[in-house]
Amino acid sequence: MMRQVILKHALLESEPSSAAEDLCDRGKSCKYERSPTCKTFFSCPQTGRSEECRGVIGAVSQRHTVHIKREVLESDLPSAVTLLKNLQEQVMAITAQVQSLTQKVQAGAYPTEKGLSFLEVKDQLLLMYLMDLTHLILDKASGGSLQGHDGVLRLVEIRTVLEKLRPLDQKLKYQIDKLVKTAVTGSLSENDPLRFKPHPSNMMSKLSSEDEEEDEVEDGQSEASGKKSVKGVSKKYVPPRLVPVHYDETEAEREKKRLERAKRRALSSSVIRELKEQYSDAPEEIRDARHPHVTHQSQEDQHRINYEESMMVRLSVSKREKGRRKRADVMSSQLHSLTHFSDISALTGGTSHLDEDQNPIKKRKKIPKKGRKKKGFRRRR
């Protein structure tokens, strides 16, 4: 059989070659021809080993590879035939299915005026994505280039849609999880917060419900006898008797809340912060962050600047404003903050007492100001 193969190749060959010189190193036992420095490996079917073909890539080595290919082809032929038959059967089955589907769609068995459900869309998109991806892999594996491939554009489109669907998915996640859990376990869990949802029917008092029932019964009777009761048309409005909740905040609770707030403010004061930095192991951070003590004046200034820049006008500063600004500047430029620390009495437990130099905490009173000219600028407080 080998000789037959070689002879066939010799027939294919255009140029004749002397067989004796070109025999491979194995000698007469191996009938493969030797080609100098070709450097392709072939598995010699005679010896069964993989050998380097020592020949230039030319007509002779092509013969080598053609040899091998023939061998491989011969062995693969039966399996290929079966696969092709298989493929044909499958193609026929698929065409039949697609035809039936198109018929159904044309007959209107799948109404989509109200749109597809979210989960269905997701399913279909993922399937299409997978199909396109496999198609691309197939193309690439068979040596084609993906440049300007239509599949890439389709993939990108499906991907964007999936990304857009993701936040919706997050929103629905809780509901879907609950439904699935209910379906699996068969009952709601004990800690289901839906058990505590409001039941407005419980809020109607028993008396009013009895009245309604009587009225309805009367209406039925009177209508049967031909009379119409007035109450049936326009009932007197009875406000719902909601369950009253006791207002429980006593003076003590208010005190507690105030103390809480003072404690929080004291914790973020400079004294405590410096202590924390001293005793913590974390590295010292120097941040160029917003000044932690934003005063009311600085916020007002910022508001003014924003207004001026957006309206492209310059606002005049009244005398009162000037005075306020000066006072704020003086306060911040003095060495006031060196010796006057913030009040941390909330943490130490003592009562708050103020230094002579510090201003007492004033409560703002709502005094309506007369003659406000700059209507657009003033913030409504």
């Binding site: 001026e308 820049e309 957006s310 492209m312 006008v313 310059r314």
Partner: protein
């Protein structure tokens, strides 16, 4: 060492209703006083590749410590639109508008001339 005066624009907006472009101008001029408005107009004209006569700048305020000034600038599509839409006192600054100086004082008249003075007031020449 020569410190140059640089101009930057912020909050650039095209106002189609008034046929102009309005912006915020930041001038950086370390160790110098604020540049006069004419210079700023020329700088802006060079930046926006127009003539300085369609540009009007105003409202320059220097920041605390010096070195930086912020103001507003308007850049009209053409001189006609500028004359139509710009505020009169700003046009007067460029010399494109003259306001009539009417006096609010009434000249005192005695005798027969009093009858000749009607409802209006005599303008002072």
């Amino acid at each position: 060492m020569n410190d140059t005066v640089t101009a930057q624009t912020r909050k650039f907006m095209t106002n189609r209703l008034l046929q102009r472009k309005q912006m915020l101008i930041d001038i950086l001029h370390p160790r110098k006083a604020t540049a006069p408005k004419t210079e700023i107009r020329e700088k802006l004209a060079k930046m926006c590749k127009t003539t300085p006569d369609v540009i009007s700048v105003f409202g320059f305020r220097i920041h605390f410590g010096g070195g930086k000034t912020t103001g507003f600038g308007m850049l009209y599509d053409s001189l006609d639109y500028a004359k139509k839409n710009e505020l009169k006192h700003r046009l007067a600054r460029h010399g494109l508008y003259e306001k009539e100086k009417t006096s609010r004082k009434v000249k005192e008249v005695r005798g027969i001339a009093k009858a000749n003075v009607g409802a209006g007031k005599k303008p002072k020449e």
